[in-house]
Symmetry: D2
Subunit: 427 residues, 4 copies
């Protein structure tokens, strides 16, 4: 990934570092030590691991590089908290992260503190260095990505427990009355530009900015709601192979999918496990925790399709610009992580822009034309995952606000359901 570090002053850098690092700790504050140890599936990681791995990132890519005399907190951490960087060295196996009771939660706290102190010192001494600033920006964006993963992984872990533990209470606000009417917003297509532009931070996979040819298309003004998704289910959505990709149908059968992840049938209705416990399904909220396969099957059932990532980016650029959207359910302020219904009386063409749930696109995750993998370990960040994954756009109620942007490319395998992922239709 590449960062164009602007000429900001050092105190700003330091503040930003502290804010992001603090946010991680704040997210883990409601968790007891026991919560931070468990790996509930191979794709998820214990919260303690996320806290240590993001710290390892600064230690490995910045402190070791810019402080020749740096003495690592514990040399074993180099292997334990390396996620997948082959060029850095060996990695403790991903699916065994839940076998480690040590370092303890407290020890990981000390690890974070120690690295933070060293980073503060370094920033004050060498904060003008462009490469350092660039790597710092990567490290902070990396940590923000893991903040979202902390939430999705904790949610998955808690959901395995028949006691349905609450991560954070939220005051029950029943969503008001009528749904926002769905409208089709029309776009002309033609040769468009997409990808990140020169200024501001962006990951390597958003580059280069390039031209693309689009046919005319329509995007839905808002996301698919739980209530609309229930119609699909009632119409046999999970029993009729004609709506499904062949691979999706296999997974659906094998895993006995009958509803989105975290939905539970309860007598005459549905409940949904959330970070604030088990709650009745809200009909107007956007459907969430669906896989690409389900999103695609829903779209086919509805007679539409999922958007291409080029269409999505073009639409958002037209209606919102390339700067972060004002989300309805903001990350920092909100008490809970819960997708929000679309606003009824939105002035914008797109009633619901982004920031509630990630939106599956029809686009496999591939390199943009002219993409070049960055050299060194940082080059392992994005490019090597460009296979058998689909692009998601937007951002979710669990994504840090400053991390959301119109050119951002998130990606997951088509069967993944534990992210806050939903559906916007196109035609």
């Amino acid at each position: 990934m590449i960062s164009h570090a602007e000429s900001v002053d050092i105190s700003h850098l330091v503040r930003r570092y502290q804010t992001v690092r603090h946010q991680t700790e704040a997210l883990c504050e409601p968790l007891c030590a026991e919560d931070q140890v468990i790996q509930s599936m191979p794709d998820a990681s214990p919260a303690r691991w996320h806290r240590a791995h993001t710290t390892w990132f600064f230690e490995t890519f910045i402190l070791r590089k810019f402080r020749p005399d740096y003495r690592p907190v514990n040399s074993a951490f180099e292997v334990l908290f390396n996620s997948y960087y082959n060029s850095v060295g060996e990695q403790f196996p991903r699916h065994q992260r839940g076998l480690l009771s040590r370092p303890t939660v407290e020890e990981v706290g000390h690890y974070r503190q120690s690295v933070d102190e060293q980073m503060m010192e370094l920033l004050e001494q060498a904060g003008d260095d462009q490469e350092l600033r660039s790597l710092l920006e990567v490290g902070l964006n990396h940590e923000q990505q893991h903040q979202e993963l902390i939430l999705t992984d904790i949610k998955h872990m808690l959901s395995c427990n028949p006691l349905f533990p609450v991560y954070r209470d939220r005051s029950v606000e029943k969503s008001a009355g009528e749904p926002a009417a769905q409208r089709w917003v029309q776009f002309d297509g033609g040769i468009v530009e997409m990808g990140a532009s020169a200024d501001g931070f962006r990951f390597d996979n958003e580059l280069p900015r390039h031209r693309r040819l689009l046919e005319p298309f329509h995007l839905s003004s808002r996301l698919v709601t739980n209530s609309e998704y229930l119609e699909f289910m009632r119409d046999g959505g999970y029993e009729r192979p004609e709506f499904w990709l062949s691979l999706g149908w296999s997974v659906c059968q094998q895993e006995s999918w009958k509803a989105p992840l975290y939905w539970q049938s309860q007598g005459d209705g549905w409940s949904q496990f959330t970070l604030s416990g088990l709650r009745p399904l809200e009909p107007l909220e956007p459907v969430c925790h669906v896989s690409f396969f389900e999103a695609d099957a829903f779209a086919r059932w509805a007679g539409y399709r999922l958007p291409l990532e080029g269409e999505w980016e073009t639409a958002v650029a037209a209606h919102v610009g390339d700067c972060p959207a004002t989300r309805t359910g903001n990350f920092v302020e909100s008490e809970a992580f819960h997708p929000q219904p679309a606003q009824r009386d939105s002035q914008s063409h797109l009633q619901q822009t982004y920031g509630d749930v990630w939106e599956w696109t029809a686009s496999p995750y591939v390199a943009y034309p002219g993409y070049v993998t960055p050299p060194g370990a940082i080059g392992e960040y994005n490019g090597k995952f460009m296979c058998n994954q689909y692009v998601l756009r937007g951002g979710s109620c669990a994504t840090p606000g400053s991390h959301i942007r119109g050119t951002y490319r998130n990606f997951f395998p088509p069967e993944a359901r534990w992210q806050f992922s939903g559906i916007r239709l196109a035609k």
Copy 2:
């Protein structure tokens, strides 16, 4: 898939039907009954099954439809030889095709004969019907696809046997002297048209013909040779994760890949299992039986990339036109199924066009913009497989000559190696 049946006379139709059906039998002629029973892996099917399934296709989609009084040869075959058509009904599980000793090879022969006789009668009576013609064309192209699979599946099965049985002998012709020098052929890009045009048979996934924007690019004038691939191997190609997609590296480790499929290390050199038995590796032949992961890793090692399917189709249209290439190793005439070295003194810009080995592209297999799944069972032919597969272009020494065309989209998962698949570089 869709067929534009031309106003050909009926005797031509009948002849074409007979030719294609006979070709299947001719391919199985060297096989004993024992050879036709075994399923050597879940992806492969016994030769007898291919012979029965292609027959089932005519029975199910044509005879049952156009002959109201048609009495199926054996009602159990409806399930036994249904490959994956959910809308036709239940299917005998794919991975259990090798559990069936009955119907015997002889009985399958009778099945084919019986359906052929009914088809002959039908064609003579109703050969003018446009829908019939259209479905017939689909059935024949479908059978040609299975002809190639018969060869790839038999090759895999025979390769499991330490006796290394020979499918068909070929006279040893050592490929002559020096390699064809590799050249880069340059293309301008811009807005191009791709996809099948109005006339001639094509599958639904080649439609619609549409516009695409390409950046300028270069394609290699010929395929990567065994000798070039050996350099990659000698340079640690299979031990260095930096060349590999993350998923590819996992597969490579898990399956202990050390060379292309069918290569065997023998003392100081390499041999290759072929349909004519175990033979010394020919350095100038195109490398074959590599997965997408290996093709992609090779390209990255070499400092290049795989072509996009749009680039490939554009290049071929420019140099060869949209009609089948004159292959160097022709399917019908040749005695063996073996990729051929590029011609040294080719007049064409592209020394080696297509028909030797399938060429992996960098393009995930997705629908063309505006693609519509055909209604009914025929709609299950292509669209539902558009996930986690990559497009291959060209055709191989095992592809029937009349089945090769510039707009054809073959597709396999990135780990598949048992097809005749190779590498052309782009930059």
Copy 3:
């Protein structure tokens, strides 16, 4: 195993060799080439493999030893047809026996002929040699064991085919009216002798003859019938964990067992797949194709238990003597392989002795006190399998008559169901 070769004349030996070898061929006579290739599960082997492996046994242990200039038919067979003799060398993996289409059925026939001719010559020249006679006896008994396996393996393979092919027709003889009343036969226990005595052939695992202390016990006069087993099923036998061993209950759940293997629910009744096709269940026949787990659960449900092997051997010795029983359903004469109902008016104390179905005992398969593994490859015959298996006694309708004896110890894992195995109760 050990053979006490008697002073029989050579022509008798030759005749016996020919009879046993011919019997194998006779059993395969109803099979087409396709039937002889398939391995329907890892535990079963293709018929062709059994024919070749039994031949390999004579080649490896006799011809190679007694004919110094012996030239093997095909040196690759040494590996291909070695079942599990580590001391002989490498083995082709057991679960991959179904990947081999070659050598063909015809070639295996030639292999058998060639070895038979060499064996005939050898026997006429060296038939007096005691070690040769001893090994010959082992080889013939070994081949008889495989004759039973040919039948059980073919039955399993044919049962996988929805066409339900018939191995051999049998005339339908509905078993007559009333059941033989079950009686308890009483035995005193005390110190008994068991194990094979000095004369006649026996495997090493029947040795040494030794003393054992038995408590007084009762054995049922006949086997459990299908009709009695149906009562267990109707009483929730397959749904109530209280009858089952913990491991058995896991297997039962995992494999969704609802009835013995080969039983099929058909509308209002049950059918059973047999070597003569799918037939209505005969209520008075002994229940067959049950695992140890099912036999044990049935016994617990009934309020009884399975016999110890010492009890079984003692009972049979008392009532039948140590010589083969006159079976009700004889192997050589009968047209089909089907367990027979008990005789109503039997004069014997035990109405149904043995030879209909193998009888599960409660005894894990362990060495007799003082057992010594024979040296060399022959030592791999029995001892190394003494773990996690249970002893079955008696013999089945598929066991060659001359192979049945009171001291014989058959053994299979507790989950095995594809043998002709049934239940006799004890208390």
Copy 4:
């Protein structure tokens, strides 16, 4: 299991309850919360689960029965902490015990306290009740079994961590000089009595006391040492199939066994992971953490065999009596859990009796003649596990001292290695 409750006074009962319950807590005292959450393999359970399950046992089998108005601490615990009692109801899946972060360590502590208080009250009110006393005895013995499992499971979990955490330090006492010379102790055999006698607590599987016939035999005066086991390894023990049971050889190959569990090759020697961290291998300590397969292979390599459980019990009764042995490495007093070398100058015939490591016997775990499964849930304690397991005798350095006795039958599958299990030879 059955308990003959003696006429002890109530304060004694209360004291014993408190002692055993306290011992569990004392064992978990060195563990942090993180240590108590992880399930490192399906066979092991988190320490917190052991603490809760043993509490559940008293709640379910005593409080619910004897206190009609008993209100369970949390009704969800009935399912969460039921190990395998089908007759009590549903069970949370065993292999998912590591998915639960709640109830927390602290909450489990409260659960224990609450049940303890209720138990105290109950004992003081109804401590004369014979059935209560009997169930209490079962509950305490049950808890003692789990005390050993807490240690074996913690050891396994810590061993997965490359930081090699220490459970409890021990002062390094290098075992002194020369090995205790191995001697053969001779026994006459004949008809012996075995099984538990009328007085004192014993589990149902130790009953009934019965007669058995033994041939004359010899037992080794001490256990096999690490140094002796190393000879086996150096002689190719793990590479030579001739020493192994067939099933054992498969497991050995599949799991790549090269040494006992927890041994690590380090440069020129071996280390062993222990509860006091990674330590150099002590040559004179008994070899530990071997499976039945390894024990059996070692014995065959050495030219001997494992003892029958009847032999073991007879020998111990003759030399030690039926009362607990004075262990060399005692559970309560010792600082660490580590097998002890045999005493050189022992006065006893058997230099090393029992209490250091469990001793694998050659006896599959089966019911004694006349064994009757107790009625109700308590009947699920032992009988249903009598399949594919082997009996171990003695007791280990991790077994509570008051839990060791000569008639005790421990049992594990033949591949289990994470218990403190070793080898005594017989001939």
